[in-house]
């Protein structure tokens, strides 16, 4: 299964990677692992130290909010967004 992934510009412009990618997997976790094998720098920006999607990062699979275990169908569209909740400064 191959999915198309779109990343937000606030991430891609700073770390210097493209906004659009393709990766394969049966679940979102597998798709992300495939993506990270191609673009390793993305792993720690999207996942925390425990391997979870970061708290203020939203991932949608075919427009539905998704987590690591969400099934990914053929030709799925995966969108990564920054959550409004992350706009709060911690300091």
């Amino acid at each position: 299964v191959s999915a198309r992934i779109r990343l937000p510009s606030v991430l891609t412009e700073t770390i210097g990677v493209g906004a659009r990618h393709e990766a394969a997997g049966e679940t979102l976790g597998e798709v992300l692992d495939d993506l990270f094998s191609r673009v390793p720098v993305l792993r720690h920006h999207l996942l925390d130290e425990q391997g979870r999607i970061r708290p203020h990062v939203l991932v949608f699979v075919d427009a539905a909010r998704a987590d690591i275990k969400t099934a990914v169908g053929a030709n799925a569209e995966i969108q990564v967004l920054q959550a409004v909740s992350g706009g709060r400064s911690e300091s």
Binding site: T14, E49, Q50, G86, S89, E90, S91
Partner: protein, 345 residues
């Protein structure tokens, strides 16, 4: 042509002085990301520590302060600690080794110019860690001094730790400093001190000056004991402690108090000491007579040991001097809250 790198709550900026005395602004670099610290590699390349409210942290490298590349593997907490990395507070280089002080009071080292990092477990998992309490900015290891096998690290709101064996073992060094959460002057707990800024005499590394939450202090024995030195200061609170290598002059920027982190009566001034901290006076002239109710944070002060100093405010303005802190002026451009400044050398 002078240049100043500026790290702010929202992006990095590069200021370049033109021949007419105006300053050109390049940026924002890292748009939307906090730029929390600057550093340099053993090869003279520049480093910027960045943090996102969404996407974790990064360490970027540049040959010219203009073109940046993500190094890809910043310091992160081991999975079994359960901690999350939110920010690098300080980058410090000693020879070929880089040190990073981080959120959650982390200390990390890199021996490949920031490409990979290892946690310093002797400090990060110190036997007193379960007593460590965060300050307003969270638990933060934010100041790092080194001299051979001796290393000092300042942690808010925990205190100063020293290692005498290159970072393997650590001991708290705060005797004589007032702890942060007690009114008992005689209390001397092991931890619970809120160091804000540290500066060291490179000719005598055991001589260190400390801007603390609870006042200004000096040690002449590497932190084994501290003495209060506030004669002439309008307030003991503040974040900055800077020592000019060329002249030996000390500089700090006093703020009113813990609960009121702005200059006393809005009189934003750097204060200097030419006698080792025994006495302090306003450093030079050119200061605004209009009230400046803004703060200056610990990383937002820099000097180049050639008479140039600058600092940035929480209100996003930059003050500079090029004559050894005799005359100061405020630059026109305004920025978001400033965390880090670096005079480009």
């Amino acid at each position: 042509m002078r240049r100043i790198a500026v790290g702010t709550e929202k992006g990095g900026y590069l200021l370049t002085e033109s021949s007419g005395g105006t300053w050109m602004v390049e940026g924002p670099q890292f748009p939307g990301w906090k730029v929390s610290a600057f550093g340099e590699t053993s090869g003279g390349e520049h480093l910027a520590a960045v943090a996102s409210n969404w996407f974790g942290i990064g360490v970027h490298i540049s040959p010219d302060w203009s073109q940046w590349a993500d190094l890809g593997a910043p310091p992160v907490w081991p999975e079994n600690t359960g901690r999350a990395m939110e920010q690098i507070w300080a980058l410090h280089r000693d020879g070929s080794r880089l040190w990073a002080g981080t959120s959650q009071a982390g200390l990390f080292t890199s021996d490949d110019d920031g490409r990979t990092w290892a946690p310093v477990d002797g400090l990060n998992e110190h036997r007193t860690r379960d007593q460590w309490q965060p300050g307003f900015g969270g638990l933060a290891a934010h100041r790092i001094l080194t001299s051979g096998e001796q290393i000092w690290v300042g942690i808010s709101a925990v205190g100063v730790f020293r290692s005498d064996d290159g970072g393997t073992t650590w001991a708290p060094k705060n005797l004589g400093v007032h702890p942060v959460d007690t009114a008992d002057d005689a209390a001397a707990p092991e931890v619970g001190y809120c160091v804000h800024g540290l500066a060291q005499d490179p000719r005598d590394p055991l001589r260190i000056w400390r801007q603390d939450h609870r006042g200004v202090f000096r040690t002449v024995d590497g932190g084994d004991s501290w003495q209060r030195i506030e004669n002439g200061l309008p307030a003991g609170f503040g974040f900055v402690m800077w020592r000019d290598r060329a002249s030996g002059r000390l500089l700090t920027v006093p703020l009113h108090s813990d609960e009121n982190r702005v200059p006393v009566e809005g009189r934003l001034r750097a204060y200097g000491s030419d006698d080792d901290g025994e006495s302090w006076t306003v450093a030079g002239e050119g200061w605004s007579e209009a009230p400046q109710f803004t703060g200056v944070l610990r990383g937002a002060f820099d000097g180049d040991d050639d008479g140039n100093f600058c600092f940035g405010t929480t209100g996003g303005k930059i003050w500079i001097t090029s004559d050894g802190a005799r005359t100061w002026r405020e630059l026109q451009p305004a920025f978001p809250r400033i965390y880090a400044l670096s005079i480009v050398r």
